[in-house]
Amino acid sequence: MEVKCHKVSGGCAEGPALVTRERISFLGNVNPETGVVVDPSHELYGRSIAGAILIFPGGKGSTVGSYVIYQLKKRGLAPAAMINLKSEPIVAVGAIISDIPLVDRVPEWILDVKDGTWIVVDAKREVVVLPDGSVRI
């Protein structure tokens, strides 16, 4: 199925979903050398975001987080694409400077998608493609 979205940063990518209902502060929550979530209080603690379609409500924290996203990308440890309910400037700027597709304004049930679900983010066409039946609507 295709879901409409709004492009924040262009491009097209696909990969397995990694979903959290918690906001992410890239500065502090994620180790830029490993791509692993290192904040023990975060829902994704211990998980690697590398290559994933990272689905989260939006960013938070220091604006330095934008640079952390860039650093992850240069090390090949960035998410393949990101999906937000509503992007804020830190993640938006981070995705743009790193050439990572980022879309927002998707329905809230996107946070019910199971981890590992194969997802295509086509920011250019402003659609997210999910397997049929991947969520109950």
Binding site: V8, S9, P32, T63, S87, A92, V93
Partner: protein, 389 residues
């Protein structure tokens, strides 16, 4: 957001990758904040300079850019005095990375002036009614409130993007309707220390726009301290002082929250003074000292010797304009430190308890440096550093 033909071309990459990326940043922010279009800016002030704050990630990004800024642009404080970093006990590795960041900005045509007080260096950098893209929160507050220019609080990348394109999205404090007061604060006190007043007011107001009514008449240095503290304890980017700053645009007084601040409220901010005995460093100049402030400090230090580390942070340009004043200060054993400050330099981290006269430094020192902080008046600070009373 509506783009002109030229802006569209930039966005499509017709003038290179760096400008395409800069435009993408501006357009994304414009979309997020529902800006109608971009607007030309007079100048940019770019945060994200100290290696301590931006790290290798920031260094890599800035180093990968190519191009030249389109408007006069200057930097926020770096992590060290760019010349006297060895005297600050900065290690070689940090210094090498810091200088690489500075070089990367220089290649982009950014003026290598590292200060939170750009308005003290060049009068032409901002005038009343100018649109700007400034990042440093106290400079943003000063530009909006004291100068009457218009700027949002930009992040490092968005300020640099605006500098490269020469434009910023038209939203927030660029629009008159967002510049009306939300709080009226009547101050029933003879205010001497505006950092303490700002510390209190920022906590109350949050991200609002306060209008102060007070019998004291703050000068420009007082306003600098007031705004800096409110931007740190809250996120105030614009304020008014009745009869002192510009008048606010038409607003509805009934829609404003009314707040009273009295003498004892301000005194309560200083309560922690009692345990200042183990202070091992005193630091002044947050925001960077003006020439008048440097002279005032030199006068207070006259005939004394410091018994503790005493730092006075300022911009290189101000320090170089007053060599005799700097000499007077340093002859007491105090240090005049340029290009950096007690908050963004790792040099602060080797101390355990810092006394400051800045409401802003008081907010940030514990979290950013892991150092205990005490707020005192300027006189208290000088006394603590010289062992006098």
């Amino acid at each position: 957001m509506h783009l002109t033909r030229d802006e569209e071309l930039l966005l499509q990459g017709e003038r290179g990758d760096t400008l395409r990326r800069a435009m993408e940043i501006l357009v994304a922010l414009g979309d997020i904040y529902e800006a109608e279009r971009l607007i030309e800016i007079k100048s940019a002030q770019i945060a994200g300079v100290s290696y301590k704050t931006i790290g290798d990630a920031g260094l890599e990004w800035i180093s990968d850019l190519n191009g030249k800024v389109a408007v006069p642009s200057i930097l926020n404080p770096a992590g060290m005095d760019l010349l006297k970093w060895r005297e600050m006990s900065i290690d070689e590795d940090f210094a090498r990375k810091q200088l690489a960041i500075i070089d990367a900005y220089r290649r982009l045509g950014v003026a290598i002036e590292c200060t939170c007080t750009p308005y003290l260096l060049y009068e032409s950098i901002a005038s009343r009614g100018d649109h700007l893209a400034w990042s440093e929160s106290s400079a943003v507050s000063y530009a909006n409130s004291v100068i009457g220019a218009m700027t949002n609080r930009e992040g490092g990348p968005s300020a640099l993007a605006a500098a490269l394109v020469g434009k910023t999205p038209l939203y927030g404090y660029h629009l008159e309707e967002n510049r009306v007061p939300t709080h009226v604060i009547s101050v029933e006190a003879d205010v001497k220390e505006y950092g303490a007043l700002g510390f209190l007011a920022g906590k109350i107001v949050g991200d609002g726009v306060p209008l102060f009514v007070m019998r004291s008449r703050p000068d420009r240095d007082d306003l600098k301290a007031l705004g800096a503290a409110m931007a740190a304890s809250g996120s105030v980017a614009l304020y008014y002082v009745k009869g002192v700053t510009q008048e606010p645009p038409q607003y509805d007084p009934d829609a404003c929250e009314i707040i009273e601040i009295e003498d004892e409220d301000i005194r309560s901010v200083y309560d922690s003074r009692a345990d200042a005995g183990d202070v091992d460093i005193v630091a002044l100049g947050c925001p960077h000292c003006s020439l008048q402030e440097l002279e005032g400090i030199a006068d207070l230090l006259e005939g004394r010797k410091v018994s503790k580390e005493l730092w006075i942070c300022t911009s290189r340009r101000v320090a170089e304009s007053a060599p005799e004043t700097v000499r007077r200060i340093e002859s007491t054993g105090a240090r005049v430190i340029c290009d950096t400050c007690m908050v963004v330099s790792p040099a602060s981290e080797r101390f355990s308890h810092m006394m400051v006269n800045s409401g802003k430094a008081f907010v940030y020192i514990p979290g950013m440096c892991g150092v205990k902080a005490t707020l005192g008046s300027l006189e208290d600070c000088i006394n603590a550093a010289t062992g006098g009373s």
